[in-house]
């Protein structure tokens, strides 16, 4: 199967959108058939399933309701598997299409904020912390709240998804204040 590609070798946004949509619907039907009461692509749940590993060194966490929720979810094994398979999908896609380009920090970041790896890693660690905390508090990330929550027209997801962009845009503007074509 040869999918229509754009000049830069990427799939068209429409192609990608339809594939993800079909995937979301197919998994939803399968999940409901198996009577799992959660959204199928809970990428947040996948991160949650890694977090449950902390209950081994810190045994007190085994009693924690959130850790228990992620450990005992009927879809826990699916979520855990997805950590690896999403990464594998990215790896295979990059390798097959010869754009596998390992890098320590993004080149655009380097250009505007200097080559310090430590600086980028500290920012990323803090950003990740906010991402994880925000995702569980909003009960879903971009996949759960937008790709699926918006498709259900859930009031909660419409609010959550819109607020992702409010602060996202503000932070992007702070990091790249002058970018907008003028500097190119």
């Amino acid at each position: 199967m040869k999918l229509k590609q754009q000049k830069n070798g990427e799939w068209h946004w429409f192609t990608g959108g339809i594939i993800v949509s079909l995937l979301a619907m197919a998994t939803y039907v399968v999940f409901q058939a198996l009577s799992y009461k959660s959204y199928p692509f809970g990428i947040t749940a996948s991160f949650g399933s890694i977090t449950t590993l902390f209950k081994y060194p810190f045994t007190a966490l085994a009693e924690n309701p959130i850790i228990q929720k992620y450990s005992n979810s009927p879809a826990a094994l699916i979520s855990t598997t997805m950590i690896f398979s999403v990464a594998l999908g990215g790896f295979v896609a990059a390798k097959l299409n010869k754009n596998y380009a390992p890098e320590l920090i993004p080149s655009v970041w380097k250009k505007y904020h200097g080559p310090s790896v430590l600086k980028r890693f500290i920012i990323v660690l803090f950003g990740g912390f906010l991402l994880g905390l925000g995702a569980v508090l909003a009960s879903g990330c971009t996949t759960g709240n937008i790709l699926q929550g918006w498709a259900h027209l859930s009031l909660g997801s419409l609010v959550a998804g819109a607020s992702f962009f409010i602060t996202g845009i503000i932070v992007a503007k702070i990091l790249y204040p002058k970018t907008g074509g003028q500097q190119s």
Partner: protein, 179 residues
């Protein structure tokens, strides 16, 4: 058990593959979207949302699935704002982070560690977050909340989403060159 692993592999693989091939995982692209310069991700997202919305509501009407709208509470707003700030700092969201790890982008590993710490922080302080943000909620069912039939709301939402895609499509896709 084997079934769950197989589902996890298939779903995750297709998802990660599609994100990478469509170019959604690129740092300049995510930042380009947040800087309102590159709308490929927005168009990709809204295409998926519009198509799935019609699909979900049709399947629901046929009785094949049951919709599961997420309730509205303060956690959605506050959590969403916190998440957005994190996304701006990282230049990717959790799904694209995993796909980027596969692509060999090392900083995504640090992001993964940070995300897990964020979830752990929530788990440890769960009482605080539950009482302040998620104790009171209202049903997430939009047609129930507005008192309008879902088959009036769905076409309106579809037209709105398609209009946004149409407007966004007038902008150039590849922001990388003028970043």
């Amino acid at each position: 058990m084997i079934l769950k692993i197989i589902i996890g592999i298939i779903v995750g693989f297709i998802f990660g593959y599609t994100l990478q091939r469509t170019g959604i995982t690129k740092y300049p692209r995510v930042m380009g979207m947040l800087l309102l310069k590159d709308f490929k991700i927005l168009k990709f997202m809204l295409t998926a949302v519009t198509f799935s919305m019609i699909g979900f509501y049709t399947l629901d009407s046929m009785g094949i699935i049951e919709l599961n709208p997420k309730p509205l509470d303060w956690g959605k707003l506050v959590g969403g704002l916190i998440f957005g700030a994190g996304m701006g700092l990282l230049g990717y969201c959790p799904g694209t982070m995993l796909s980027r790890i596969g692509e060999g982008k090392k900083d995504a590993w640090v992001g993964l560690f940070g995300t897990v710490l964020g979830i752990l922080f929530f788990a440890v302080n769960v009482k605080f977050f539950k009482t302040h943000f998620t104790s009171k909620s209202i049903s997430g069912d939009i047609s129930e909340a507005l008192g309008i039939n879902q088959w009036i709301i769905v076409p309106i939402a579809a037209i709105l989403f398609i209009a946004i895609i149409y407007l966004a499509n007038k902008k150039v896709d590849d922001f990388k060159h003028n970043f």
